[in-house]
């Protein structure tokens, strides 16, 4: 049981670390890495609970769930990176002389200050 708790507990700690980093850091890449770390934490928990003592065979179901989860996480990460790279392209193309920025900042704190402005944004 100690082994499961250490492994699964490490997963919970990873989840918490990822959550903290996601909320605190603004650059998109850090947020994306934080989300992947959170996901890895949850996968750790699944792997830890697959083995519940030597009397029982290891449970293949959580293993399969983790494999499915990894593919889902890879897909989501790929799409997020592509959207981000599109944003950077848009940033660089109109003003090629502008200094390189550290990447778009996406605010995710549920603070009211992040309400979008209601400026007429339909015009390209």
């Amino acid at each position: 049981m100690i082994a499961q708790f250490l492994y699964g507990g490490a997963g919970i700690l990873l989840f918490a670390l990822g959550l903290w980093s996601l909320l605190v850091h603004a650059p998109l890449l850090r947020k994306l890495i934080a989300l992947n770390i959170m996901g890895a934490g949850v996968f750790h928990v699944f792997i830890a609970i697959a083995h519940r003592g030597d009397a029982l065979p290891p449970d293949p179901v959580p293993h399969a769930l983790v494999l499915t989860g990894i593919v889902v996480a890879v897909s989501a990460t790929a799409l997020a990176l592509a959207l981000n790279s599109r944003l950077e392209q848009g940033e660089n193309e109109p003003e090629p002389a502008s200094s390189p920025s550290p990447g778009p900042r996406i605010h995710m704190q549920p603070a009211l200050s992040t309400e979008p402005s209601s400026k007429g944004a339909t015009h390209p």
Partner: protein, 236 residues
Amino acid sequence: MNRDLSLLIGILVALLAVVLLWVFHSTLALDPGQRLASLAMERLPETGVSNPVTAVLLNYRAYDTLLELGVLLAALLGIWSLGPPRPGFQRAGPALAAMVDWVVPLAILTGGYLLWVGGHAPGGAFQAGALLGAAGVIMRLAGHANAGLPSETWQRWLVVLGAGVFTLTGLLLAFTGYGFLTYPPGQAKWLILLIETAATLAIGVTLAAAYVGGRPQPTAPPPPPLVTSASAEADR
């Protein structure tokens, strides 16, 4: 971000972690009770494969795996909708090119092995597909702008191959009276191998196409001139 606010978030998240750890610990101490493990092992001989994880992925919970192929496709379609890909990297030098000539066929061969071995040992469609995708990534890094992928028409058919064979098999089984994705006795092994082969190709092509990162172009753009700084490109 404001220092105080991030400290506050840190404290709250730490509290959450403590609660979760405590709950997890107290649950592990309980009797595991009824598990899926023994049932999954007991019925393993009927699944057509002897690797329990493959049995879960392609038989017990095949429906999840089908949708997971859908998720992969959704990501690729999203990437394609964002416009054409960026130009590829410059042509590899002789040392890298020689290595690529070795590594790519090896990756494809190993992928085939992993696909086959998945029936009775760790391996299977996703591992094999990941290797095919990696072969594509290596090719693009070495200057093949389209990562060795075929034309757009072929790419489109290949990326839907996995989910397509999967869904059609499922529906065919439903119409013949067995039920959606319920393999007839004795046929499971071959149906799973068929689905896995299609899925491997689809996953490999999808991953490589996602790495190329844009809608396939009718004709492969010529490689950029050698003056492009490799380090600037590698930053992407």
